[in-house]
């Protein structure tokens, strides 16, 4: 009954007035940026990271986590009411959600999304509490070879799950690893790739890169086709689904939660992949599959449950292994390091308050979100109508001031501008930035583990294949890549991302 004691510890941590306040602030902000198209959780968390320096570690992480899963709720509102996804993970929700809104069932669609998300959030919280501790125990036995192989697996998975060409994504990973090496080498003390700039001695700030590639590049991309942006907001009348609608949403919510939870753990995906997969599968198995695309309630229930479940289970690798599965988690790791906490399997034993506090706060946050999103829907509807040309200058201002306040230097503003340009270039060339950012975080860690593994094996590189856990991890990675490049699956993968 250790679990109950642990959950009790989590409850007592997350229910302090201060942490409740930061949890509420997090989910409120999350809903806000979820509702606003063009502003995602990665850029927001990057902007807010400097602010969290001053908070206690638990409060800071509770708030940042709230922003991430909160944005999954908010994203559905915009998808349903304006047919523009508020969040990447709500793209598929727009397909049927907006059609429901056009038939006057906007309220029912919003309720479905909220109920599905809440259920999924609750289940995902339980999954986290059940599976994270044993995983951390296993990870404590990992040596450098295992950690290196685990990171290889994570990066390979992020390549497979990236949109577009596998080859381009692979290049982005290597590019990110190289970029991560900029700065002082911890072993020799030599400054690498700094071009003699003293500002680069500590490396390029991850937040600076993230804000450039996710904040600035995204703004530029949105300016490409602003004329086609729809501005008609659907009316919300009755929030209550009919008895028939309640019945139809049950199994899609269950299936969506299962798919989202499973896929959320995979590196490189988080919430996005889950929502696409849940929609595609629901379309296949539902007996109302003819209605899909014309306002089927299943098409809202399944992806919305999946993205929320995925957002939460993606914390598992971060909290237990110290390895980020998506850029948001990489920022969370950054926040931990800033707070003086070394991410990894020991967090759970050394910082039980932090670990269980975050987990329980997720459930509390989900409760807040239902209240924020249903009774207070009117406020968000008004916000949806804020035009993008008013929004993006404000985003730019927050990026500018946020990035400056990291180290109080203009140099970071210039670096951010540079990565904004690079990010847009890569968007145009079909090279997704997410794998690069993951690799960027993992770069220095991988080098260190490689160094240690080879030191222990006396320079024998076969150590990665002879140690069973390491070999299994590498085999899994190889399998994923081979599977993704098989012609049949390759086609399926393209279809999945196009929908």
């Amino acid at each position: 009954m250790e679990l109950i004691a642990n959950l009790g510890l989590g409850l007592s941590t997350s229910l302090t007035p201060l942490n409740l306040l930061y949890c509420l602030a997090g989910v409120f902000l999350g809903t806000l940026i979820g509702v606003l198209p063009g502003l995602g959780p990665t850029a927001t968390i990057a902007m807010l990271l400097p602010v969290t320096f001053t908070l206690p570690p638990v409060s800071a992480l509770i708030m940042l986590a709230g922003i991430y899963y909160g944005s999954q709720y908010g994203g559905s509102t915009t998808s349903i009411l304006v047919n523009v996804p508020g969040e990447a993970a709500s793209v598929v929700t727009a397909l049927d959600g907006y059609q429901m809104a056009r038939r006057g069932r906007a309220g029912a669609a919003l309720t479905t999304a909220a109920v599905g998300s809440f259920f999924a959030g609750t289940v995902a919280t339980v999954i986290l509490a059940l599976f994270a501790p044993p995983l951390a125990t296993v990870a404590l036995k990992f040596g450098p070879a295992e950690f290196f192989s685990l990171m290889v697996l994570g990066l390979l998975a992020s390549i497979v799950l990236a949109r577009g060409s596998l080859l381009h994504a692979a290049g982005m990973v290597v590019l990110g690893l190289l970029l991560g090496l900029v700065g002082t080498d911890v072993n020799s003390g030599i400054q690498r790739f700094t071009f003699g700039l003293p500002r680069l001695a500590d490396g390029i700030g991850f937040v600076v890169v993230a804000m450039g590639m996710f904040g600035l590049a995204e703004i530029t991309r949105n300016l490409e086709n602003e004329e086609t942006r729809s501005t008609v907001v659907a009316k919300v009348s009755n929030l209550m689904p009919t008895r028939e609608e309640w019945k139809r949403m049950v199994s899609p919510i269950l299936r969506g939660t299962a798919i989202g939870s499973a896929l959320g753990i995979l590196p490189g995906s988080g919430s996005i992949l889950g929502s696409f997969a849940a929609y595609a599968i629901e379309k296949k198995v539902s007996k109302n599959s003819k209605e899909f695309g014309k306002g089927a309630i299943e098409g809202v229930a399944a992806p919305e449950s999946a993205n929320n479940a995925g957002a939460q289970t993606s914390f598992i690798p971060m909290l237990t292994l110290g390895i980020p599965s998506n850029p948001v988690m990489a920022l969370m790791i950054g926040a931990m390091i800033i707070q003086g906490i070394q991410p990894g399997p020991s967090v759970i034993t050394e910082q039980p308050q932090l670990f269980w506090g975050i987990i329980v706060s997720m459930w509390v946050g989900n409760l807040f979100l239902v209240v924020l999103n249903l009774p207070m829907i009117g406020m968000w509807v008004r916000l949806v109508s804020v035009p993008y040309q008013m929004l993006f200058p404000a985003i730019l201002v927050f990026c500018g001031i946020g990035v400056f306040s990291l180290n109080n230097t203009e140099f970071d503003i210039f670096t951010m501008a540079f990565f904004g340009l690079v990010g847009y270039l890569f968007v145009k060339l079909d090279c997704e930035p997410a794998p690069m950012l993951l690799a960027y975080i993992l770069g220095p860690m991988m080098e260190e583990y490689l160094r240690r593994a080879l030191l222990i094996s006396r320079g024998d590189p076969t150590v990665f294949f002879t140690r069973p856990i390491s070999a299994t991890l590498l085999a899994l990675g190889a399998l994923a890549v081979v599977a993704a490049s098989l012609p049949a699956l390759h086609k399926k993968r393209e279809e999945a991302f196009r929908e």
């Binding site: 080859l167 290049g171 020799s188 490409e224 200058p393 404000a394």
Partner: protein, 153 residues
């Protein structure tokens, strides 16, 4: 047909990878390679550069045999204005202070939009500047001057 026209994405991406990889490889030669047992600072970067160059070459070769999709619309105005607005903000924020730098950033970037209007942008610039002075500078203590060194502060 030449590869740039037929598969611009593969061709250009490949070129970028080769260039960056080659650059990193050349810089790495200044560092100590070490051995597998005792990896020097050049060991991992050299490994990665080689891999990046290989990926780049495959991508370029692929653009000769397989056709791809065109690059599509480029928001040139957006690229230039957003970049210029951000760089200008960074360049003058200490000298001029946020009272000037922020409105410039807002209006210059807003002008990148096809739906730009002077009236709303000026109103927005005023609102954002006031908000930032109160929240970031007074509230959170970000060390940015309201009026900068050019004004004798």
């Amino acid at each position: 047909m030449n590869p740039i026209a037929r598969n611009p994405k593969d061709f250009l991406t490949g070129c970028i990878y080769i260039l960056v990889g080659a650059g990193a490889l050349i810089i790495s030669r200044d560092y100590d390679m070490g051995t597998a047992v005792k990896m020097g600072p050049a060991y991992f970067p050299t490994l990665l550069s080689g891999l990046l160059i290989a990926i780049g070459i495959i991508s370029v070769l692929r653009s000769f045999v397989k056709s791809g999709t065109p690059i599509g619309v480029v928001a040139w105005k957006g690229v230039v204005m957003i970049l210029a607005a951000t760089l200008l903000f960074g360049a003058i924020v200490r000298g001029a202070g946020v009272l000037l730098a922020l409105p410039l950033l807002v209006i210059l970037s807003a002008a990148a939009s096809a739906r730009f209007s002077w009236k709303t942008s000026i109103a927005e610039a005023v609102g954002i500047t006031v908000f930032c002075i109160f929240v970031f500078i007074e509230g959170l203590g970000v060390p940015l001057p309201i009026l900068g060194s050019w004004f004798g502060n």
